[in-house]
Symmetry: C2
Subunit: 390 residues, 2 copies
């Protein structure tokens, strides 16, 4: 692969490839699996003077932002937006899935679904785990079989778009199964919300966790959890509230019910981040979610075509791949770190190494929001080609 002869090795391209920069810029193009680059108009919202996080003006704005999330995910229940990372959203979601003796089911087919098990473990909760090989989706048949074998399981959580392996689990079909069985269905949509259509109502999703900085396109710093009416009801009917304070949906829901018209949650909200989030949600609406989905699919296909032409393999089946990121196998003799450093040092493009057991075996390329554009993937492919030919 390296040293492979192609026409571009002469003339302009040859010189371009030999070009060495003296001072790399600090700002990078973020083609990692998040955070992503943020549009300028969204960044400007960050610089607005801080406002008070309670009172009518703020509450109207916050609730309007929650309504935009509800519209994006099509859910009639409620949405909570809190200062935190995707991890906080994930913890809040899985912690709500059962009381001490309830059986929680977790599909484990990547780093982030495995993190849900680790989080539950810190509370002394041991879920029932459906383990699937990394790089494969979980099939509806596997879920059905798992639930038949484990009839005490009351709730099931999985990751929609798994950024460690690049797969997109089929939540629509799985939702049909959990709905039929009357099981609470929870989805980690941290890297799918805003990129892949999610219909919580028709897919029977009761809890959905996401964050500000990936598919939605805002700067990092906000955890977002949406709950269907069935999900809210499940939380409210617990014998004991969910343990803990900051990550407890019982607490979030309590404040919402008691003081939604004055201060929807009793913490000092990161108001500047909510300004930016609001701007992004409106931009998604303006682009149209169907068009946005098509854009991400198109860009993902183009990138994968280019990578295959360079002789590289996509880690998972393309039909099962998420449009948010692409995970690419890198032969050992090439070296993931070498490729990552080449792109970073010469092109200011950041891509990511494999996570967990895939470290050193794959690189992960994010193409979400602002970065799901032809200009980004063409520059990236050129940079990879150059590295392989050198």
């Amino acid at each position: 692969m390296r040293g492979r002869k192609i026409k571009a090795q002469t003339g302009f391209w040859h010189n371009a490839w030999r070009y060495k920069r003296e001072e790399p810029s600090l700002e990078k193009i973020l083609m990692i699996p998040g955070p992503c680059d943020v549009e300028q108009d969204v960044l400007l919202e960050m610089s607005r003077q801080v406002v008070c996080h309670y009172g009518t003006e703020w509450t109207n704005f916050y609730n309007q932002t929650c309504d935009l999330v509800k519209e994006l995910l099509n859910v009639a229940g409620d949405v909570f937006i809190v200062n935190g990372s995707g991890h906080l959203a994930l913890e809040s979601m899985v912690l709500a899935l059962g009381e001490r003796n309830d059986e929680i089911g977790i599909v484990d087919n990547g780093n982030f679904s495995h993190r849900m098990i680790e989080i539950l473990d810190t509370y002394g909760i041991k879920p029932k785990v459906l383990e699937i090989e990394w790089g494969k989706i979980v099939t509806p048949e596997q879920v059905d079989e798992f639930l038949t074998k484990n009839p005490t399981v009351k709730s099931l959580a999985l990751v929609h778009s798994e950024t460690s392996t690049g797969v997109l689990n089929p939540i629509e079909e799985i939702g049909r199964i959990t709905k039929k069985r009357g099981i609470i269905f929870a989805v980690d949509a941290v890297s799918s919300a805003g990129i892949v259509p999610i219909d919580m109502e028709s897919d029977g999703i009761d809890l959905c966790a996401t964050a500000s900085q990936k598919g939605i396109g805002a700067p990092p710093g906000l955890a977002i959890v949406a709950a269907s009416e069935k999900g809210l009801d499940f939380i409210r009917k617990r014998k004991k509230p969910i343990p803990g304070w900051y990550a407890s949906l019982s607490i979030w829901d309590k404040f919402r019910r008691e003081q939604a018209s004055f201060q929807p949650y009793s913490i000092t909200m990161a108001v500047n981040l909510v300004f930016s989030l609001n701007k992004c949600l409106k931009a998604i609406k303006e682009e149209g979610i169907a068009q946005r989905y098509k854009r991400h699919n198109d860009i993902a296909s183009m990138l994968r075509m280019g990578l295959k032409e360079l002789g590289l393999n996509i880690f998972c089946k393309e039909a099962e791949a998420t449009p948010a990121i692409t995970v690419v196998e890198i032969p050992e003799e090439i070296g993931t770190i070498n490729l990552i450093n080449h792109l970073k040092n010469k092109y200011d493009i950041l891509i990511a190494n494999g996570l967990g057991k895939l470290k050193g075996r794959v690189v992960r390329i994010g193409h979400m929001g602002k970065n799901a554009r032809l200009v980004n993937i063409m520059a990236l492919l050129r940079g990879i080609e150059e590295f392989l030919v050198q």
Copy 2:
């Protein structure tokens, strides 16, 4: 008081007081007990393009920011900065104070110290409580007596500057007692860090919780916890790690030890907020903490003198008051809401109502960071005078 005759009722002042605005501005001057107004150069940091939250460049910047916090609080241990609110910092701190059967001591003399008890309760932990009347500080003698009566108490937590009552608890003297007894000492410095000098080393403070949006002067969204070496050691020597994930100092510390040079904490950091925080910490250093302390003290004294001239009473003893905020008694016939609305609607100045049992009895005026300036308190006093005279 209202209708009291003063010279200013004629001429220019009379007309000014009758002036009615048609359209109030959305932006307010935040003289609430936080968040506070943020300086323009700090706000501009918020609009920088998002950067990656791992790798050498980021780690250097993040660790430098932590070092600035260490310097501010004079602590040799470690500092953790995480996406969250002051509540998250508080929860992380109190949760670290004991295992299931350890006795945790809490001084309860305001809304925020009471919140620590409520937070522990969500984990099924019942601390030993030293209850002090709202509006009074806890004295070193009371602490000494409490610890003598409760020899099993292993750690003690209190709020330094209590924004519900306006008192500043004497942490220096109390630290001397806890140090002598070998007890872990934890301080909520959410509204004191950056305004009142805190010396964790010489005051024997082992854990200190604060946030970005008050005395430090950045926009809201970051929780900050500092730990002394003794504090870190206490956490590391536990039999079982602290429960939970996002709010657990065991988890924060684990990542710090395992990967400080690559990604100090395994969440997607709110990088824009850290840019702003870094800028504020440098500005505090430039102003000089002694000068900054004097500025806050001077402004607090000036404001209180003005309020007393208007016939209003400060809620706590002035010698025991925090320089961060002033809590003022409002006679029932005047009405806190009426005064708050007058200042908001006519002057765009926001002040806050009393919290908990003080609601409707006091107003709370914040004068921290950008707002600890003569121009702010003069405008505020004029607005209050006008309201009282009407």
